[in-house]
């Protein structure tokens, strides 16, 4: 239902330990943000894209659909950089360094987003959430996040069907109808969320639910070669950027 989530669950790297993928993918994002955008960002983007389409085998069409979201924000967000508002009532004009800075920003965001997408497309949240307690997140919070994850899909399902039922009864013909429909969607989802919570409590009680949602997290252990390879790649990218930065214009 959420394309990234569905892809993550069937991804080729699904069985890798989340830490493996976090070091590589989020390391790439961190490099994209902290290295000079030129030539760092294109190098990072290239590495992330290679990993996504190569070994992780993410479908290009799916990747593009997800990638459009941050690009859209970035394009709108970079617009103001092109313009300069002079102080003291001077008329607005083109900012001298504007296009260059906007381009750098665009490069940085595209590269950083690819790193994030590499993680998102290979690592389902179900593998991440129960492990968050090990990095210091309070168990109560990860439990709530776990329930949020499960309920989100149930409620999105509800929302889709409510919309469908409303459309059948012409719920989107007029402005008034649209607002009536939206209010109905919000209220239905709200009531459904809490009815579900109450029923789930009854459902879990028999299995010894005491307020803590213990689950057995299984899966492959952290791979040392993969980690070492990732760190090596990150170091190489950083070094290449710093060297190339001096050689390139």
């Amino acid at each position: 239902m959420l394309p990234i989530d569905a892809a993550a669950h069937s991804n080729r790297w699904r069985r890798r330990h989340p830490l493996d993928k976090a070091v590589l993918a989020l390391g790439l994002t961190a490099l994209a943000v902290s290295l000079p955008a030129w030539p760092g960002a294109p190098l990072v983007a290239l590495a992330a894209l290679t990993a996504l389409l190569g070994p992780a085998r993410v479908e290009p069409r799916r990747l593009w659909r997800a990638y459009r979201v941050p690009l859209g924000f970035c394009l709108t967000g970079a617009l103001p950089l092109l313009v300069q508002l002079g102080g003291d009532g001077a008329p607005p004009g083109l900012a001298p360094g504007g296009p260059a800075e906007a381009a750098r920003l665009l490069l940085r965001t595209s590269a950083a987003s690819l790193g994030l997408l590499l993680f998102a497309f290979t690592t389902p949240l179900s593998d991440v959430l129960p492990r968050l307690t090990r990095v210091g997140v309070p168990p109560a919070v990860t439990d709530v996040a776990l329930v949020t994850y499960r309920f989100t899909f149930l409620l999105l399902d509800t929302l889709a069907r409510v919309r469908q039922a409303q459309a059948a009864r012409l719920g989107h013909t007029t402005r008034a109808a649209t607002w009536r429909s939206l209010a109905g969607q919000g209220a239905t989802v709200f009531l459904r969320a809490f009815a579900r919570a109450a029923r789930m409590q009854a459902g879990l009680a028999g299995r010894g639910y005491d307020g803590t949602l213990r689950v057995l997290v299984s899966g492959a252990p952290v791979s040392r070669p993969f980690l070492a390879g990732s760190l090596l790649l990150l170091a190489a990218l950083a070094a290449a950027t710093l060297v190339l930065e001096r050689l390139l214009p």
Binding site: I4, G77, P80, L85, A140, V141, R150, T152, A183
Partner: protein, 207 residues
Amino acid sequence: MHIAEGFLPPWHAAAWTAAAAPFVVHGARSLTRLVREHPGNTLLLGASGAFTFVLSALKIPSVTGSCSHPTGTGLGTVLFRPPVMAVLSTITLLFQALLLAHGGLTTLGANVFSMAVAGPWAGYGAYRLLRRLGAPLTAAVFTAAFTADLVTYCVTSVQLALAFPDPAGGFPAALAKFGSVFAVTQLPLAVAEGVLTVLVIRLLTQA
């Protein structure tokens, strides 16, 4: 309006994370307390988080013709109070980053500060104030949602203006620029979210 992954320079990203952290930690403490009081609260809070997420997936028609999504924090903050809302919105923002590529991890702190802290607290403050002044529930709820949305957008503009000051006019000019770019979409959205929140609350109180 989520700041995309990589959009903020590293120091800004780190600073906003530090600014948001105390609120989220405080929220996590009150959440842990709630869960300890009653085991069922985990499920209720999870349901609230999912509700917030799904609410932000509603498509609201806006004057510009396109559809936009509400933040959902206005209704949430009235129902669940700002400290808990800080945690729930943080979870929602994490999910949005990883499930929808809305926002990001390096910009999570900045987004949490605007959407999970500043917006909800402002909305809640407005709600309490109006209720204390004897305003009807619908007016207070509308103001809460409108304020939460508007403050979120203002804070985001400040965050961007601080990161990208205008070469000539500095921070104030940059704020004016970012503010006007996003005002086109965000002001009507704040009104729309206010209206929607009132309609939902009315349905819920009738039911």
